[in-house]
């Protein structure tokens, strides 16, 4: 615009001041203004109907050193209890299972989905990340993390590099991570596809223990994960930006769930035996993630889509959106919607047929079966004095496992072998 007269200068100034005023109302600044420490803390409860209950506490501290360095420390403590689906199918009669430790048994009622109620764990995770602005165009970061739970130890390192172009409108990022995990299941790792043994079938404890030991491998096992991610962030215009990521993840080592089993059924659908599952020891995953985020006059909105595929044949599509609306400069409400759909792993099967050859790999874990899931969430945030912020979040999450096309013999047709899993997430967060 060319300013040719005093009048147009005046009107331009008026326009500019109007836009400044309107920004003051709409642009709610959430970061603290006067110090270089930032603390975010949250406590979350996750509860499934009749199944897993989890409580998680998370704390994140950020400390800036000058304009170019940023230290990020995070601690997560979580505790899990409750029951999870063992993979066995419901039956016309009650079923008795040997606990994963081999010590004791548990019984599941007629028609009930077998749940292993021994699920119990506490996990502590610590991580640290250092970010350094190297110069006007380059930023680098390095990090370490470790996580420990009763039967699992994970240690990892990660590093990343970012390069800005085009007046900082375009940012390319390349990052990588490597982790080494040690798996040491309760009762030892089951021998792949071996049959569960029962105390009642043996005369003495010694005989039973000897038979149980035959189904177990000595010592622990490891799993290595290598991740590489390439990302582009592009500013579209004054209000919108977008991000595109491509991720490649290679996992090798022990990926079997030592606590999951499969029922072996006859033509009437009656269970003849239970076998411990087995999964391949390598997996290569690709993912593409697209996100666009926009600043609205009275809020923020984002939309994302993720496509993921791997050589286990699990493909998934995830659509997600967050929409935040400011009721006032210090208060907002936010809606979260997510839809997820996945296709079963090639070795997934809801049960085994007795008489058929025992496959090398098989799992009845619904989490790698055909499934859709959705999340509906609401969050309310309130800005307090001194830049503090308090927020509450409540979400409903439902998984709908589906039959992957397996024909159900006999009595199995009477039961819901793919029951929905319904969960509530409640969270309180505080930042200062």
């Amino acid at each position: 615009m060319q300013l040719t007269s005093k009048q147009s200068i005046a009107s331009a100034l008026a326009l500019a001041s109007c836009s400044l005023l309107s920004q003051q109302v709409s642009a709610v600044e959430m970061t603290p203004t006067n110090d270089d420490w930032k603390v975010d803390a949250a406590i979350m409860y996750y509860g499934e109907q009749d199944r897993v209950q989890a409580a998680e506490v998370i704390g994140n501290v950020q400390k800036a050193f000058g304009d170019s360095s940023l230290l990020d420390l995070k601690i997560v403590v979580d505790s899990l209890t409750g029951a999870s689906a063992s993979g066995a199918v419901a039956q016309d009669e009650s079923q008795t299972f040997t606990r994963p430790s081999g010590d004791g048994q548990y019984t599941v009622d007629v028609g009930e989905t077998p749940l292993d109620d021994t699920f119990h764990d506490t996990r502590v995770q610590l991580s640290a990340n250092w970010q350094e602005v190297l110069n006007q165009d380059w930023t680098g970061n390095v990090g370490v993390y470790g996580s420990k739970e009763f039967d699992y130890l994970s240690m990892g390192i990660n590093a990343g590099l970012e390069r800005s172009f085009n007046k900082n409108n375009t940012t390319l990022a390349l990052s990588g991570a490597f982790s080494n995990d040690v798996v040491d299941p309760v009762g030892g790792r089951p021998v792949a596809m071996s049959q569960m043994v029962f105390r009642g079938n043996y005369a003495t404890d010694t005989d039973y223990q000897a038979a149980f030991d035959q189904t177990r491998l000595d010592g622990d096992d490891t799993k290595q994960t290598s991740d590489i991610m390439f990302g582009v962030t592009q500013i579209i215009n004054r209000n919108w930006l977008m991000q595109a990521n491509y991720g490649l993840s290679s996992v090798s080592g022990y990926m079997t769930d030592p606590y999951k089993i499969l029922s072996e059924v006859d033509v009437n659908g009656q269970t003849q035996a239970y076998r411990y599952e087995n999964r391949p020891d390598s997996r290569l995953k690709h993912s593409v993630f697209l996100l666009t985020k926009g600043a609205l006059d009275s809020g923020v909105v984002d939309f994302s889509y993720r496509y993921s595929t791997d050589d286990w044949d699990i493909q998934s599509h995830t659509l997600e959106t967050h929409y935040r609306y400011y009721f006032s400069p210090s208060m907002y409400g936010q809606l979260h919607l997510r839809y997820y759909q996945q296709q079963a792993a090639e070795f997934y099967q809801p049960f085994l047929m007795s008489g058929d050859a025992i496959p090398e790999f098989a799992s009845a874990d619904y989490r790698i079966g055909d499934m859709t899931a959705y999340t509906i969430g609401l969050k309310f945030g309130q800005r307090l004095s001194g830049g503090h912020e308090l927020s509450y979040r409540i979400e409903y999450y439902q998984q709908n496992p589906e039959n992957n096309g397996t024909e159900l013999p006999g009595q199995l047709q009477n039961y819901d072998l793919f029951p929905a899993v319904k969960a509530i997430v409640a969270q309180v967060s505080y930042s200062f």
């Binding site: 007046k167 409108n169 500013i235 579209i236 995953k285 993912s287 998934s316 979040r393 969270q427």
Partner: protein
């Protein structure tokens, strides 16, 4: 109408779309003084870092796929 009639039309449409996207790219972005809205804290890609971390952990342990937004990571025996 036949398929043969559609084919060149479709090709032209695709070519036009590509030209449009390329032309669009050249005007993508803003001047440094136009970044007011984008600089808002709630526009940062990690503005809800803890929520995203907690969500990732839930979905990681309950679904067959993980990661995408950032490095998949892991660090628990829940999947």
């Amino acid at each position: 109408m036949t398929k043969a009639f559609y084919k060149p039309l479709a090709k032209a449409a695709v070519a036009l779309a590509i030209v449009n996207i390329l032309a669009g790219c050249s005007s993508l972005g803003v001047q440094p003084w136009e970044k007011d809205q984008l600089a808002r804290a709630d526009m940062a890609l990690n503005s809800e870092k803890l929520d995203l971390a907690l969500d990732d952990h839930i979905y990681f342990s309950k679904e067959g796929t993980s990661g995408g937004r950032s490095l998949a990571g892991g660090g628990c025996g829940c999947n």
